[in-house]
């Protein structure tokens, strides 16, 4: 297991290297490079920009710049936000709890929705027709538009729920915090549940076609037990893998949902930074996003090996 883990970790190093080159190239493709924000500012004189260019080493060859950027990044020195001058790392870290709250609650809800739908639609043809249409509709939904509609109906028109933010201005009690969660969680959970129920349905179908299921039927195991005790545990493994592999989709969903509902998480930090062309923050967000996705893929591999002995023998 340790050797496997070490090998997989070693494999993700070149991956991260590739991603960092890609992102660095993108950042420097900006006309004016990372100093664009100052170029458009009438209060910054051209000679100041020239001085900054030398001070920040932007006149050095690209390769050298990349190396020093990479070294600084690995050490946790992610530069300063153009918008407010604070360290990028600090700005990112303070937004993480809100994002974890939103993503955690909605993923839990999505799992509770996707589990019964995925299992039952794998066996009931009639139900499958309905849930398939619902799931495809959920996947096709423009997330930002769905969020806007919910805001319009439940916050503006009916006035039942707050339209944005994480809590009322005065802090708010737990009921207030829960009320702020309802709309963004609904949006994110629905999008996740739509995709996840499809994954689970497919995983269940694959398992249900295997001989050991027929054997269980032949032994007279009740249908319900075949589903829950024989098929589901075998399907969950590949389901969890696909869900974790799909983490990049979750990041995209969180960015949109947080922005629409002004949820003070990492995702809305990204769109705020985008509006201000705050490149150090954007860059750090994408690096952190990529690292998390790679880490989750690694977790998926490890979990699969832990629960499925066949994979250990095959390796």
């Amino acid at each position: 297991m340790i050797r496997f883990l070490a090998r997989r970790l070693a494999q993700s190093v070149p991956l991260l290297f590739l991603i960092s080159v890609l992102l660095f190239a993108l950042l420097h493709a900006v006309p004016g490079g990372p100093l664009t924000a100052y170029l458009e500012n009438p209060n910054v004189r051209p000679e100041d920009i020239a001085r900054l260019r030398t001070a920040l080493g932007l006149d050095r060859p690209l390769g050298a710049q990349y190396l020093s950027w990479l070294l600084a990044f690995v050490r946790g020195d992610w530069g300063y936000s153009i918008a407010d001058g604070r360290p990028v790392l600090e700005r990112l870290v303070e937004r993480i709890p809100a994002t974890l709250e939103l993503v955690g609650v909605s993923s839990l809800l999505a799992f509770c929705i996707a589990l019964p739908i995925g299992v039952l639609s794998a066996v009931h043809r009639g139900l499958d027709r309905v849930t398939s249409v619902a799931a495809i509709a959920g996947i096709s939904l423009p997330v930002f538009w769905f969020g806007l509609l919910l805001q319009l109906v439940f916050a503006n028109r009916l006035g039942w729920l707050p339209s944005s933010g994480r809590a009322s201005f005065d802090g708010g009690d737990s009921l207030d915090i829960a009320a702020h969660l309802v709309l963004p969680v609904t949006v994110l959970a629905l999008v996740e549940a739509a995709a996840w129920s499809r994954y689970l349905r497919r995983a269940m179908r694959e398992v249900l076609a295997r001989p050991f299921i027929r054997a269980a039927h032949a032994r007279g195991v009740p249908e319900r037990d075949v589903l829950v005790r024989h098929a589901l545990p075998n399907a969950l493994g590949s389901f969890v893998t696909v869900v974790l592999l799909d983490a990049a989709m979750l990041v995209s969903g969180a960015v949109v949902t947080e922005s629409v509902f002004a949820w003070p998480g990492v995702g809305s930090l990204f769109t705020e930074a985008l509006a201000k062309r705050d490149y150090p923050v954007l860059m750090a967000f994408l690096m952190v996003g990529a690292v998390s996705v790679i880490a989750l893929n690694l977790v998926a591999d490890v979990v699969m090996r832990a629960i499925d002995p066949r994979l250990r023998e095959a390796a």
Binding site: P14, L15, L18, I19, L22, L23, L26, L27, A29, V30, G126, R129, V130, S132, V133, I136, A137, I139, S140, L141, P142, V143, F144, W145, L148, L149, Q151, L152, N156, A248, M249, V251, S252, V255, V256, S259, F270, T271, L274, A275, R277, L282, M283, F285, L286, G289, A290, V293, I294, N297
Partner: protein, 272 residues
Amino acid sequence: MSGSLLARAPRGAALFLAGLLLAAALAPVLAPYAADALDLANRRGAPGAAHWFGTDELGRDVLTRVLFGARVSLAIGLLSALVSVAIGVAIGAVAGYAGRWVDDVLMRITDAMLSVPRLPLLMLAAAVTQPGVPMLIVLVAICGWMETARVVRAEVRTLASRDFVSAARAIGAGPVRVIVRHLLPGIIPAASVATTLAIGRGILLESTLSFFGVGVQPPTPSWGNMLYQAQTTMSTAPWLAIAPGVFIFATVLACNAVGDVLGATPAARSAA
């Protein structure tokens, strides 16, 4: 009853897409008003007989803008899908057929691209390059070829070990000929499913980018930037957000429904 209705849904989806394409192509003829006709006396007018979907903040007819926006949104969806599937097929076929280090390098690049969250990456790329419509198509395509590449690679690897491929090689066919004449026909089912799904994804991505102000720039109408302009007046003029959103949703839904049916056909299932 509901079963038979649902069974007919994919055909309805295909018809809807065909009708929409026609309507977009004929937009200058069909649209009740000129594309940029202003009616400043009638700004943010509610839907009615004269303006079925209402008017926007400059008094422009929303139905007209939805029709002209369809040209932009559909063009981005269709063309980005074709480009991304072409890239995916090329990379997947080369990786699957060449094997060894070529395969390793190409698949690591694919993994790297898949690890970066697609939408934020696109947003950053769009903010940096400030693309026009053609560049936007290229950007969306560059961020969308990876799934196709993986499917095609797997497919090509299975096909490449079959006897007819060995036979082709034995009579002296080179790698290009083997890939183009013998392997590519086998991946058409998988590629057509990928294309349909990519159209829907492209339309969603365009609308999301434009909604955040980094996609199609006004005055060119797209469904996404209509929503971008509508969000500030959501509570006073919600119809500005309803029409373009419904069209995005319906179009993406139709693409995904058609893709789902294609994906369930025997040819595609054997490919999956």
